[in-house]
Assembly symmetry: C2
């Protein structure tokens, strides 16, 4: 069972270990917002006034350079939290890959509540920590792995959230998004997919629906073995 299999949105990770009263305190600070598919929750360089808990939908974290290049930093899912920053402005943009809903918190208010409820602070740290490990893994993949291994790494990671009982994955993003996530060109991603299909590791039901035929082999490839 993955989180996205549940009909009800998963309870955000920030609520872990909180009492009912504490959860209500947190809730009372939040305002639910609906985000249309394809639009931004916030842009890179926006004022950092809010934090967001993802209730439903999938988002993509991206970073742009002055030269117009884009690096996709992560894909994030319901239950996760975003908007962290250590500056006046956020260093990345977050965009909805699906229609989505989020709970929006005023940054200052939320921080203040963290002082009152240490467990809430702890949960935030834990989320940050997981994000960090993710970044480590991605950095490793980009530095050390070949194109087809990176593509497997992507499928492995994205699949962890998106996969159903038949090993089908809905790719919610474009090939360009995947390429920018992996530091590859769109054609290279496409070729890697084709090769993996030819090798019987995956199959396509449609251009955006992959079936993992050989999960063990996929994992080995993702790990560079």
């Amino acid at each position: 069972m993955t989180q996205t299999d549940d009909k009800t949105p998963p309870r955000s990770l920030i609520y872990t270990g909180l009492t009912i009263e504490e959860c209500e305190k947190v809730d009372s600070l939040s305002r639910v917002r609906v985000i249309p598919q394809g639009s931004y929750l916030f842009h890179q360089q926006d004022e950092a006034h809010s934090l967001y808990s993802i209730l439903d939908g999938v988002f993509m974290v991206e970073r742009l350079s002055v030269t117009g290049l884009r690096q996709v930093m992560a894909f994030i899912f319901p239950g996760n939290f975003t908007g962290f920053t250590y500056d006046q402005t956020v260093e990345y943009g977050v965009r909805a890959l699906t229609p989505a809903t989020v709970a929006e918190f005023n940054r200052t208010e939320f921080m203040a509540l963290c002082e009152v409820i240490p467990q809430l602070k702890f949960n935030m740290d834990s989320i940050t920590g997981k994000l960090m490990i993710r970044l480590f893994d991605q950095l490793f993949a980009m530095g050390q792995k070949k194109a087809h291994e990176r593509v497997c790494f992507f499928l492995q990671n994205f699949g962890r959230w998106q996969i159903d009982e038949n090993n089908n994955i809905d790719l919610l993003m474009s090939r360009q998004d995947i390429a920018d996530f992996l530091g590859l060109k769109i054609e290279t991603v496409s070729r890697a997919f084709s090769q993996l299909k030819k090798d019987g590791v995956i199959n396509f039901r449609s251009s955006n629906q992959v079936t993992i035929l050989d999960p063990a082999r996929l994992k080995r490839l993702a790990d560079g073995i």
Copy 2:
């Protein structure tokens, strides 16, 4: 003026904004340790029982895979802090590039003190945040930049701490370390250095001492412009 220019080791970032009494409380928890050049402060997979404030010396953060590949995640300097983790074991190793001294804290005690001194917690978050931004930049570099641009990116970043008034940088690490940091092969790094020298951007006083001849050009290259 960079931190490493000072004769006295820079006061650790964790002390920012603390009262004298609070600083003393923090100090009372710490135990100074001397780390010989080349040895590890801790290894990947070690039990995460300590946190470290770097008093003197330069360290390298590395992550190994089961296949024996290595990704260098960062180079860290006096005033910085390491040992963060969100698990029972640390996900990375930290190795001294120079003879070094650190202040070691018991993780549990330090965390407890963070509860008592909110500013201390805030400082920790701020350090984590800066680390995160660094990781973002590095991820971007590895995903989007060419070999010679990455080498410039490295010089730009490492130089920020290491450079003296004559634009000389002491490379404290081997070419292999640089290569593993940038996701390149040692020969590629070497060729990039040679080309940058031929182009008059840098010069070598010795194999480990670079002079930045054209900082503006170096920056442009590092930014991929």
